[in-house]
C-alpha cells in the first residue's frame, strides 16, 4: 500500500515532515487540581492531576520524596471496535508505567516528601500517537496544578514508510507494520527522556527518524508554552495588578 | 537416635557439628549445676537439644551455645552491628539491623546527648551501634554509647562502601588473632573497616579501587581456609598491580 504518493503527499494530505493540527485547553476537569485536554489531529486525550495530597496507602509512603501514580485508560468508544477492557490489560499497564516514569523525571519530587501526586489520563479518541498526546496533556495538567517541575516534557512520534521518514503517524500509518519511534524530550536541554521503538530499522536511518521526532517535540513544546503563557496571563488579569 | 546413649553425649558434642534435633546434654546426669544456654539450644524436660545446625561451643564455667552462620541476624544483647536509618520518630530513630524487626535507637543515646543537640540523620544513613536489649517479641533497643557512656567509635559512618555477608563471616573477621584475609590485605593496602555482627561490613579507603579490592576479597573468602585466603588475596593484588 502506498503511504506517500509520488508528489510527496501522505494519506491525509500532509507532507512527510508535517505534524497534525494541535489543540489544547487547560482546565477541562473542574474538580481536579490541574487538568488539560489535548488534541493531535484526531487523537483526543484528557488528563487530570490530583496532588500533592496525603498518601492514601500509608505503607507506600516515601519519606524523602513524593509518590507519583499514573493511570492510563482508553475509553470504550475511543477506537473503532468497542473495547471491553479499558484498563488492566498489559498495554495499558506498560503505558501507565512509561508515562509515570517520564513525568517523574521532570517533577521535583523531593520538594514534597510524604505526599502523593496522581495523574489520570484517558484517551477519548484514538488515531495513532496516543502515548505522545497523553504525555503532552499530562505536562499541561501538571503545570496547571502548579506542581514544581524542572522543565516541560513534550512528546511526538515518527515512522519510516516507503523509504521516507514520516512525522506524527496516524492510526493507518501506525498499523502498517513499519517502525514507530516515540520520543519525549525536555525542551530546554533537548535531552531525551522517553524513547521507544519497535519493528526493525537500520541504525543510520533510525538516527534520522529520531532526529525528526525530536524536531516534532520541539514544535509541540513551543505550542504548549504559548498555551500556558496565555492561560497564565488570563489568570493574572483576575488576581493581579 | 541419641536416646540410646544419653550419658555419653555431653563431652563428645563440644566443638563438633550438630543438626536440629541432636540431644547434646542430658541433665539427669548433672545435678546442682547451673548451665547457661546461648543461642541455638533449647531445653526439653531433662535434655538439651540443638535447634540450629552449627558447631556446639562451650566456654568456662558453664556456657553452651551453637555457632552457626546465616544471612539474617538474630539480635542479641551486647553485639556491635551496622544499622541503616529507616525513619525518624519523636523519641527514637528506627534502624534496620537485618533482624526480624526494626530496632529503636533513642535520640538521647549519644555521648553528651541532650534534647538540644539531637543529631539529624537522614534516611539511609549508616550507623555503627550497640545492641542493648534484645528480648523476644520486642523491638531491639540500640545505643551509640558503650556500657560506660562513652562514644567509643559508635555513630554514623561517612563515605566508604557497605556490603553484606553472612554472620559467620563477620564473626571470623572479628576474631583474634587477626583473620588471614585482613592480615594479608593489610600488609599491602591501607583501609578502614567496620564489621557488624549482623553481617554488614563497611570499608573505606583513599582510592575506590582499594575499596573494591578489599570488598571483593572479603566476599570471596567465605569458604576458604586461611592458606587459601592468603593465596586468593595475593592473586587479586597481583592482577591489579
Amino acid at each position: 500500500m502506498e503511504f506517500v504518493s509520488p508528489e510527496g503527499l501522505r494519506l491525509d494530505g500532509r507532507r512527510p515532515m508535517e505534524m497534525r493540527q494541535l489543540r489544547a485547553k487547560i482546565g477541562a476537569v473542574d474538580k481536579a487540581h490541574g487538568s488539560a485536554y489535548f488534541e493531535m489531529g484526531n487523537t483526543k486525550v484528557i488528563a487530570a492531576v490530583y496532588g500533592p495530597r496525603e498518601v492514601q496507602n500509608r505503607s507506600q509512603q516515601l519519606n524523602d520524596q513524593a509518590l507519583v501514580r499514573c493511570e492510563y485508560t482508553m475509553a470504550n468508544f475511543s477506537t473503532g471496535d468497542r473495547r471491553r477492557k479499558p484498563k488492566g490489560d498489559r498495554r495499558s499497564t506498560e503505558i501507565s508505567l512509561v508515562i509515570r516514569q517520564t513525568m517523574e523525571a521532570c517533577i521535583m519530587t523531593h520538594l514534597m516528601p510524604r505526599s502523593q501526586i496522581d495523574i489520570f489520563v484517558q484517551v477519548l479518541q484514538a488515531d495513532g500517537g496516543t502515548r505522545s498526546a497523553c504525555i503532552n496533556a499530562a505536562t499541561l495538567a501538571l503545570a496547571d496544578a502548579g506542581i514544581p517541575m524542572h522543565d516541560l516534557v513534550t512528546s511526538c512520534s515518527a515512522g519510516y514508510l516507503n523509504s521516507t521518514p514520516l512525522l506524527d503517524l496516524n492510526y493507518v500509518e501506525d498499523s502498517a507494520g513499519g517502525p514507530d519511534v516515540t520520543v519525549g524530550i525536555l525542551p530546554k536541554s533537548t535531552k531525551v527522556t522517553l524513547l521507544q521503538m519497535d519493528s526493525k530499522l537500520p541504525m543510520d536511518i533510525f538516527e534520522n527518524v529520531m532526529q525528526l521526532a525530536t524536531e516534532g517535540c520541539k514544535a509541540v513544546a513551543n505550542y504548549i508554552r504559548e498555551v500556558l503563557l496565555e492561560k497564565t496571563k488570563e489568570r493574572q488579569k483576575f488576581h493581579g495588578v | 537416635m541419641a536416646i540410646a546413649e544419653p550419658t555419653n553425649n555431653s563431652p563428645s558434642y563440644i566443638d563438633k557439628l550438630v543438626v536440629p534435633g541432636d540431644v547434646v546434654l542430658d541433665l539427669s546426669s548433672m545435678s546442682n549445676q547451673t548451665i547457661k544456654l546461648g543461642g541455638g539450644l533449647r531445653q526439653d524436660c531433662d535434655s538439651i537439644t540443638a535447634m540450629k545446625a552449627g558447631m556446639l561451643r562451650f566456654s568456662k564455667p558453664n556456657k553452651y551455645w551453637v555457632e552457626s552462620s546465616q544471612k539474617r541476624y538474630v539480635p542479641s544483647a551486647g553485639d556491635a552491628v551496622l544499622g541503616i536509618v529507616v525513619d525518624t520518630k519523636a523519641e527514637n530513630f528506627l534502624i534496620d539491623i537485618k533482624g526480624p524487626a526494626l530496632a529503636y535507637l533513642p535520640v538521647l543515646a549519644f555521648e553528651g546527648g541532650t534534647r538540644r543537640n539531637i543529631p539529624k540523620f537522614e534516611v539511609g544513613t549508616l550507623i555503627y551501634v550497640r545492641v542493648v536489649k534484645a528480648n523476644i517479641g520486642m523491638n531491639p533497643d540500640l545505643s551509640c554509647m558503650d556500657a560506660s557512656g562513652k562514644a567509643a567509635e559508635f555513630g554514623p559512618l561517612k563515605d566508604g562502601y557497605m556490603f553484606e555477608t553472612s554472620t559467620g563471616l563477620s564473626r571470623m573477621l572479628l576474631s583474634s588473632p587477626a583473620c588471614p584475609v585482613l592480615e594479608a590485605l593489610g600488609k599491602k593496602l591501607s583501609f578502614e573497616i567496620a564489621v557488624g555482627l549482623n553481617g554488614r561490613v563497611w570499608v573505606n579507603a583513599a582510592a575506590p579501587s582499594t575499596v573494591i579490592l578489599v570488598s571483593n576479597a572479603i566476599m570471596n573468602s567465605e569458604t576458604l581456609t586461611s592458606v587459601q585466603q592468603k593465596l586468593m588475596v595475593d592473586k587479586l593484588l597481583q592482577r591489579t598491580q
Binding site: 499497564t93 535531552k191 521503538m197 526493525k200 533510525f206 | 541503616i84 529507616v86 562502601y161 575506590p208 570488598s215
Partner: protein, 362 residues
C-alpha cells in the same frame, strides 16, 4: 507498616555515593569496567525448547511450547508468538505472588516487541491450514533469582529456547486430505523454527548527575541509577526495539553512542548463543543415534514384522548395505530378506553397541 519496612532490602547513602564516585574512575563495585558484561552461562534441559541462563547472579529459565489454534481473523496465514513471564517471589522479596506487577509487564512487552515486531521468528511457516489451523508458539520465562538486569537474561533465555525448540511435524492426510495428522517425535523428526535473526537486548543504566553509562547493571546499581535504556538489536546492524521509559534525560549523541556499543555486545552474545545451541544440537544428534541403534537391534530380531516404522526400515537398510561388501548380494536396501537378517543377528547383538563406529565395526 513496620512489618513491611522491616522486610525490604535497604540501601545506605554510603553505597549510593560510592557507586557514583567510583564510576568517575571507571570502576564498578564488583570490579568490572563500565562496558563489561557479567559471566554468561547458557544451559539446556533434556527436552527441546528449554533453556537456563545465568548472568552473574541473575538466574532465569525459559520454556517454549506449541499448540494448534485458530489464527487471528486479520492474519489467517500466520502463526502466533506469545510471551509470558513468571516473577516468582523467591527471586526477590519485592516481587509479589499473583498478578504480575508493572515491571513484569514491561519486561514481557520489551522482549515481545523485540521478537515479534522485528519478525525474528518466521510466522508464515507456522501456518498449517490457512484460516483454520496455525501453530501458536508460547514462550514462558521464569525468574529464579534477581541479581539485576532481568531483561537481558530473559531475552537470552528466550532466544536460546527458541533456537532449540522443535515442533512436531504434521501433514494433511486422511480420506479427504483435510484431516490433520500430528506425527509424534518417534515417527518423524520434529522441525525446528525458522529464525531469521537473533534480536539481542542490551541494557544500559545511567548513574549519577552526569548520567554515566554502565552496561548490565547489578541489583545494587539498578537501585541507584537514574535512568535505564534497553536496546534490542541484531548482528545485521538493525535496531529492533528501544525502550527508554522516562528517567533522566540524555543527549541524542549519547543514544547513538549507546547503540554503537550495543551492537558490539550484541555480536558477542549472539555468537555465545549460537555456540551453545550448536553444541546442544550435536549432543542431541549423538543421543539420537545411540537411541536408534538400540531400537533397531530389537526390531531386527523379528524380521517378519511388516509395516514397521519408517525409521527402523531405513536403519535396517543401512545395516544391510554392509553385507554387500562381504559379498552377500542384496539388491535393494529397503527390502528386508529374513534369512540374511538371521545370519546377521548373531553379529548384530555384539555389534549393536558399537554401531556408532560405522562399517568399520564389521
Amino acid at each position: 507498616m513496620e512489618q513491611r519496612l522491616a522486610s525490604t532490602w535497604r540501601m545506605s547513602v554510603n553505597e549510593k555515593k560510592f557507586i557514583e564516585s567510583s564510576l568517575l574512575s571507571d570502576l564498578r563495585a564488583d570490579g568490572r569496567r563500565p562496558f563489561d558484561y557479567r559471566r554468561l552461562t547458557i544451559k539446556f534441559g533434556r527436552e527441546d525448547g528449554s533453556s537456563e541462563v545465568q548472568l552473574g547472579n541473575t538466574h532465569v529459565m525459559a520454556f517454549v511450547t506449541s499448540q494448534l489454534v485458530q489464527p487471528y481473523r486479520d492474519r489467517p496465514n500466520e502463526g502466533t508468538l506469545s510471551f509470558y513471564t513468571e516473577f516468582s517471589p523467591m527471586a526477590d522479596p519485592s516481587f509479589e505472588a499473583g498478578r504480575p506487577g508493572e515491571f513484569a509487564v514491561e519486561l514481557g512487552r520489551i522482549i515481545d516487541r523485540g521478537l515479534r515486531e522485528s519478525k525474528a521468528v518466521d510466522t508464515e511457516s507456522l501456518c498449517v491450514i490457512s484460516g483454520k489451523l496455525v501453530w501458536a508458539i508460547r514462550i514462558d520465562v521464569h525468574i529464579l533469582d534477581n541479581g539485576g538486569n532481568l531483561v537481558d537474561a530473559a531475552n537470552i533465555a528466550a532466544l536460546a529456547a527458541l533456537s532449540t525448540f522443535r515442533r512436531p511435524e504434521c501433514t494433511l492426510g486422511g480420506e479427504d486430505g483435510q484431516e490433520l495428522i500430528v506425527h509424534p517425535p518417534e515417527v518423524r523428526d520434529p522441525i525446528p523454527l525458522i529464525i531469521h535473526h537473533l534480536p539481542v537486548a542490551v541494557t544500559f543504566g545511567f548513574i549519577g548527575k552526569e548520567s554515566i553509562m554502565v552496561i548490565d547493571p547489578t541489583h545494587l546499581e539498578e537501585a541507584v541509577m537514574g535512568g535505564r535504556m534497553t536496546v534490542t538489536l541484531n548482528t545485521n546492524g538493525d535496531v529492533c526495539a528501544i525502550q527508554k521509559a522516562g528517567g533522566d534525560g540524555i543527549l541524542q549523541s549519547v543514544i547513538m553512542q549507546c547503540l554503537r556499543i550495543a551492537s558490539v555486545k550484541a555480536g558477542d552474545i549472539s555468537s555465545k548463543i549460537k555456540n551453545a545451541v550448536e553444541s546442544f544440537n550435536t549432543e542431541r544428534a549423538l543421543r539420537k543415534i545411540k537411541r536408534h541403534s538400540s531400537s533397531s537391534a530389537v526390531e531386527v530380531s523379528e524380521p517378519a514384522q511388516k509395516g514397521g516404522t519408517e525409521l527402523s526400515r531405513t536403519h535396517v537398510g543401512r545395516l544391510n548395505s554392509t553385507p554387500e561388501e562381504s559379498g552377500v548380494g542384496q539388491s535393494n536396501g529397503m527390502e528386508v530378506d529374513g534369512k540374511i537378517l538371521q545370519q546377521e543377528t548373531s553379529r548384530r547383538d555384539s555389534g549393536a553397541q558399537s554401531f556408532i563406529g560405522g562399517p568399520s565395526s564389521w
